[in-house]
């Protein structure tokens, strides 16, 4: 056995192979020490060395669930890479499961934090993630389908759903998409999203990424499918609607009126962050009569020193704010505060005093930036961040009517989007329809 394995792993110097001889038996052993943990000692070495009893050892081989027959030489390499120990005992081949699982602490949610909801977030370990999920959604009908994706990384992933609730058509199309996945390295859930989305150049995400087990549990109870990926803090949920991206878990925990108010504020913020810079251009440069007289004169006065047309002004400020956001994500935490202070000073005061932008533009920029952070989902928030530039370009050319038409076009586009065959912009889904789907399937 050792020779065959060695021939597969010619240059893998971290592979450990040896022939162990305790005076009675000689067994061949092969494993990667870096992938295996200390369980080898209790499971193999101790029974084989000073506690050796041939009958007991044979009994152990048949009764311990960690031992399995591994007589197919084609699987050996694969097993070794997964952290199994290969043994050749009395001419038969066995594998012993001893994969190393680092002890992972359950982290608190960082990207989607809540005030009073559960603080736990998914970890990068698949089994702990499954535990977190089972903790919240524990029914016999919960189905877990394991998959391996990535030709090099062989990342394990679980497709999880409640088979009583799931729509079989969606499940079928998911399986079809999973078969098509072509990846060498699957390292993050984002890559999986790109692979699963049919048209990868969509303006809006159609698969929801979340680090919150409670969100996954509540979505499972609505018949959605979750994909957990080993090594990723984020689970994928599908099919989703636009409104799922705008839904914060706090909405389910806060009091009724407060959560309604907050979600209205959120939608209002999205509309603002998309249209405000464009409307600034359109109103300032095309139709100043939309303003009230006072604000028209104030803007007029504060713009008097600005040498550039309004859209250049908007681009200057938006470039600064985008650069600031980018910098504060990438920079280490210690340097991060410096960037925000400097940036804040420039955006807040100096740019206006230097006569580069008007006072109102600073307010517009801050409203745009703050409103963008109100969106609970990161990938959706980035889509929205991108959308505003489209609006700005149109506002430059067509003014207020252009903004209105583009907003209409945006709604048409959203209506056209599908997430695994389900309408993306559906205002409400009827439970009866979901049920009838299930019965048909």
């Amino acid at each position: 056995m050792i020779e065959e394995i060695r021939s597969d792993f010619i240059d893998a110097t971290d592979l450990f192979t040896d022939i162990l001889d305790n005076g009675f038996w000689a067994i061949e052993i092969a494993y990667f020490p870096s992938l295996c943990d200390e369980r080898i000692k209790d499971g193999v070495l101790v029974p084989f060395s000073y506690r050796f009893d041939p009958d007991e050892f044979r009994r152990m081989l048949h009764s311990n669930p960690k031992y399995e027959n591994a007589d197919n030489p084609k699987e050996w390499a694969n097993l070794l890479l997964k952290g199994y120990v290969l043994l050749k005992i009395e001419g038969k081949h066995y594998s012993f499961k001893s994969d190393r699982t680092p002890v992972t602490q359950i982290d608190i949610a960082q990207v989607e934090s809540t005030l009073q909801g559960p603080q736990a977030a998914f970890t990068e370990d698949l089994n702990i993630n499954m535990f977190l999920l089972r903790l919240r959604y524990n029914v016999p009908s919960l189905t877990v389908e394991p998959f391996d994706k990535g030709t090099l990384s062989r990342t394990a992933l679980f497709v999880v759903y409640d088979h009583r609730l799931v729509n079989p058509n969606i499940l079928k199309s998911l399986h079809k998409q999973l078969d098509k996945v072509k990846l060498d390295l699957l390292q993050s859930s984002g890559q999986m999203i790109k692979q699963l989305t049919e048209k990868s150049r969509r303006l809006f995400p159609t698969i929801l990424e979340t680090e919150r087990p409670d969100r996954v549990a509540s979505m499972l109870s609505k018949g959605k499918i979750a994909i957990l990926i080993n090594g990723s803090r984020f689970a994928l949920l599908l099919p989703v609607r636009l409104f799922d991206f705008m839904h914060a878990m706090d909405d389910e925990y806060e009091s009724f009126w407060m959560s309604r108010l907050l979600s209205i504020v959120r939608y209002f913020a999205v509309v603002l962050t998309i249209t405000l810079p464009a409307l600034y251009i359109a109103i300032v440069s095309y139709n100043p009569e939309i303003f009230r007289v006072q604000i028209a004169f104030t803007i007029d006065g504060s713009r008097a020193g600005v040498p550039y047309p309004s859209f250049i002004e908007v681009f200057i400020m938006l470039f600064m704010i985008e650069a600031l956001i980018e910098a504060s994500i990438r920079l280490p935490r210690i340097v991060g505060s410096t960037a925000t202070t400097v940036g804040g000073l420039i955006l807040g005061q100096a740019a206006q005093q230097a006569g580069l932008v008007s006072t109102i533009m600073i307010i517009v920029t801050s409203v745009v930036a703050i409103s963008n952070f109100v969106i609970p989902n990161v990938s959706f928030s980035q889509s929205v961040r991108l959308m505003k530039y489209l609006f700005i370009v149109i506002a430059m050319i067509y003014g207020v009517s252009g903004v209105a038409v583009l907003f209409f076009a945006l709604i048409v586009y959203l209506c056209n989007l599908r997430s695994f065959g389900e309408p993306y912009f559906a205002l409400f889904t009827s439970r009866s329809k979901e049920k009838s789907n299930k019965e048909k399937g």
Binding site: S285, N287, D300, S310, I397, Y398
Partner: protein
């Protein structure tokens, strides 16, 4: 296929970029006209157009605003505006022109042409306030009140309901006036705006009536207020009358009016008015005094004054209340009915039935 697609999308983009919105012009390159005045020019059938332009400043303090008044004479308003553009450094923008004034001499001749121009221009707001300026629009617009916080705001505030709400000030919008000009059986009215004696503020306390062509009648302030109450149901007004040596001031809080017209040879117009309110001034130690008596005295007073006013308006052959329209609307008016109404309108009998309700006597400690 792919190539054709790229070609077509490029072509579409080209087409898109070649069309554009209604003129890109930054707000600081525009000169906002806050008020506009139209007078008769020195030459016959010429116009003198006066515009009050706002010069914005970064921060606005009371009395610090700067405005510029430009005036130009031309055979037509459109030409005058074109020529005005040549003497200012920025593009004229009528988007914020909230007040349009006609000079009195122009009103006496008729304002068909100016109204025509005003309703055609896209950038003239139909919600602009109209007024008649005495002696002419140029002198009114030249006035620079101390209290102005931003250019033109004293004028806006006098007319609109945001600032002062005076029962003597009537408000007329451009759209309403244009409608009244073309409506059968209803005539227009305009507030008269004058400069105050100390030349520091505007004075808007009278109203002018026009028929379909020109100015016919001007009311004095008391009558203007009564017109405002009866025709516009304006309830922030007061009715005063002498009573036992002092004066009683009845402040209105609600006014309801109703008109009924009989179909006789000479129709009788009955004007019902119900006003409720409280006493703002009354004799001392009045307390819960003789309220019914005061009510009936007030009713008689209102009846008399209103009948006088209606007769005066009828005498000038104008119909700002819209009695003619009401008549036609009530009796399936056809052309013959309208001819009949026009013929008999100078002899129409007015009756006023008022009902005054004193709800409380005011808070007296």
């Amino acid at each position: 296929m792919r190539r054709a697609r790229i070609f077509f999308s490029g072509f579409a983009l080209l087409l898109i970029f070649s069309i554009s919105g209604c003129g890109f012009k930054d707000i600081d390159k525009r000169f906002f006209v806050v008020a506009m005045g139209i007078d008769r020019g020195s030459a016959p059938s010429s116009y003198r157009v006066t515009v009050r332009l706002a010069i914005p400043t970064g921060n606005m303090e009371s009395g610090e605003t700067k405005t510029e008044v430009e005036t130009m004479e031309a055979p037509s308003i459109a030409e005058a505006v074109r020529q005005l553009k040549s003497i200012v450094d920025k593009e004229l923008d009528f988007g914020h022109c909230r007040v349009i004034l006609f000079g009195r001499t122009l009103m006496e001749d008729g304002v068909d042409d100016p109204i025509n121009w005003l309703s055609r221009r896209r950038d003239i707001q139909q919600v602009a306030f109209l007024g008649m300026a005495e002696p002419d629009a140029f002198h009114v617009l030249k006035l620079h009140p101390q209290s102005e916080r931003y250019p033109g705001n004293a004028l806006f505030l006098s007319f609109g309901s945001e600032g002062t709400e005076s029962s003597y000030t009537l408000t007329e919008y451009l759209f309403d006036w244009v409608r009244r000009q073309s409506e059968t059986g209803k005539d227009g009215f305009l507030p008269i705006i004058r400069t105050d004696k100390d030349r520091n503020s505007y004075r808007v306390d009278r109203v002018a009536f026009t028929d379909k062509e020109k100015l016919r009648l001007c009311l004095d302030p008391e009558e203007s207020q009564l017109f405002n109450i009866s025709a516009r149901r304006y309830d922030k007004a007061a009715i005063a009358m002498p009573y036992q040596g002092t004066r009683i001031v009845f402040a209105l809080s609600q006014v309801i009016t109703r008109v009924s017209i009989t179909r006789d040879d000479v129709p009788t117009v009955t004007f019902h008015i119900r006003a409720s309110g409280f006493l703002e001034e009354s004799p001392p130690n009045f307390m819960e005094g003789d309220i019914p008596k005061i009510e009936s005295r007030l009713q008689a007073e209102v009846n008399n004054r209103l009948v006088d006013l209606l007769n005066k308006i009828r005498g000038a052959e104008v119909d700002p209340y819209g009695f003619g329209l009401h008549y036609l609307a009530t009796y399936f008016g056809n052309t013959k009915d309208w001819e009949h109404w026009k013929k008999v309108y100078p002899e129409v009998v007015f009756r006023v039935q008022s009902r005054i309700v004193i709800e409380k006597v005011g808070l007296v400690e």
